[in-house]
Amino acid sequence: MTNTRLRPLMAALSLALSGAAQAAEGDAAIWSFGGFGTLAAVHSSEREADFVGSNMQPNGAGRTQATSFSPDSRLGGQLTARFTPGLSAVLQVVTQHQYDNSWTPQIEWANVQYQLTPALRVRLGRIVMPNNLLSQTRYVGYANPWVRPPQEVYGESTITSNDGIDSAYVMRFGDAINTVSGFYGTSTAKLPNSSGGRAKANPSWGINNTLEMGATTLRVGFVSTKIDLVGTQVDSLIAGLNGFGAAASAIPVSSIKTAGAQSYALAQKYALEGISRQTLSFAASYDPGNWFVMGEFGHFVGKGIFGSANYGYASAGYRYGTWTPYVTLAQNKTVARTETGITTTGLPAQLAAGARALNAGVNTTLASASAESQKSISLGLRWDFMKNAAVKLQYDHMRLGQNASGQLANKSSSYQPGGTVNLVSVAVDFVF
């Protein structure tokens, strides 16, 4: 964790503590603790790559182990303190399979909330990143119908919290409740299989509106992020493009000068600082009690090495007492891109070879950055066998796009993109 990531946290905590001190003069703070967890085994039919719970995990089920507990298992604890009726604080710590293959607990949330008026609240500190309908309970398996939220959609947003501020304004119209909220913050995610590689969201901001009318929930959201990629393998490609640009621009031959300018332009186009990502998403859910149907759809516009994508899912389930069979259809269509790159005709042999290597590097990077296309059908059964625990059995059939590897990670050299992957998962979710 960097210092920039810690500073707002410390501010939030000191505010929480000063709030606690004020409250202590009056009546005592009310503390409450709750926890949630999932113990899940997933078996994958793919032997040359791993199915992972998020692309921040270095390995998972398939290649490393045919059956693995690491993609979906986790344990979380949440401490809430209410200092005054308007001032509260929350700390949520989650342990799950990390980028460095450890299970080190992470502070997912640490924020103070102040209710300015009955309709308006502000939170300061580490706060959930509101990408999707279920972002707030993404890790609480018991609260969700499935073993995991559909990866075609939730895999697009692997940064789950922000250090910053958010605010929500609640309006009521009869029995309808409308909440409009906005946020601003920064975050850093460490990348797996790299030496110190990380993605810094600096900043992220967004606005979303949720309308609840009885059993119906409608949501529309917009999130804009500027990402810095630090310490990844793409660094050497950008350095190579800049180096080629400098060398070729210095030679007073027009074809070589042009190649130099093209190389500079590529280095600039795929620069790893401030890469823009914007997402517009829509969600709807209807849950009258005995059954539910829900769906989310997103349009993602990525600049630089991030490919644009459309994605969505639709899911439905029926509750027979404590048994809930469900079905989900999901799809992610990421736009595949190629670059013609540096023009090699008219270049001396040595420079042409260098240019071809850089062109290949650019296209390999683009291919791997836009290989997420996949669709899947999932069939599952949830059984609420205890008052605070449920067991789920889920089958997923995933069809990967052409030249795509979907959300698979840790691919072997003999891995073939495309094709299908089947998963069987058993999960026990609990809250306490």
Binding site: Q136, A143, R172, D175, I177, P288
Partner: protein
């Protein structure tokens, strides 16, 4: 057709058997003088969509509680639990305060003008106002 007393007794007994707890009436109660509430208002309150009043719950596993939630929100105990875990772990709310029995509900309701509780209709008396009957 005229039924004999024996037939009537049989019909009553069967009705009782078939109906059982599902037919039990649940009274939603507040302090005397409170205005009636709609089923939608009660569902919003007990599913965390509204925080204007102070809801009270009977303990988990209590038969009146299960009937109340089924009738007011169409949800089984497991679904209610899942709904509340969604709200609790997203920091959006805290579940209704639990009290041990109908007598405690009536006592709490009488003491707080914003408190709302539910009890078996048969347990309702003058200390509380029935703001909604679920049957």
């Amino acid at each position: 057709m005229k039924s004999s007393p024996a037939e009537l007794a049989l019909i009553l007994a069967l009705t009782g058997l078939l109906c059982g707890p599902v037919c039990a009436q649940v009274a939603v109660v507040m302090v005397p003088g409170a205005s009636p509430l709609s089923k939608e208002q009660i569902a919003n309150l007990y599913l965390g969509r509204s925080a204007e009043l102070h809801p009270l719950d009977l303990p988990e596993g209590n038969a009146t509680r299960d009937i109340f939630y089924k009738k007011a929100t169409e949800r089984d105990p497991a679904q209610v639990k899942a709904t509340w875990s969604r709200l609790v772990f997203s920091g959006k709310g805290t579940p209704p305060k639990e009290v041990p029995d109908a007598a405690a509900v009536k006592k709490a309701v009488a003491a707080d003008p914003k408190a709302v509780g539910y009890i078996d209709k048969a347990a309702a008396d003058a200390s509380v106002k029935v703001v909604l009957t679920l049957d």
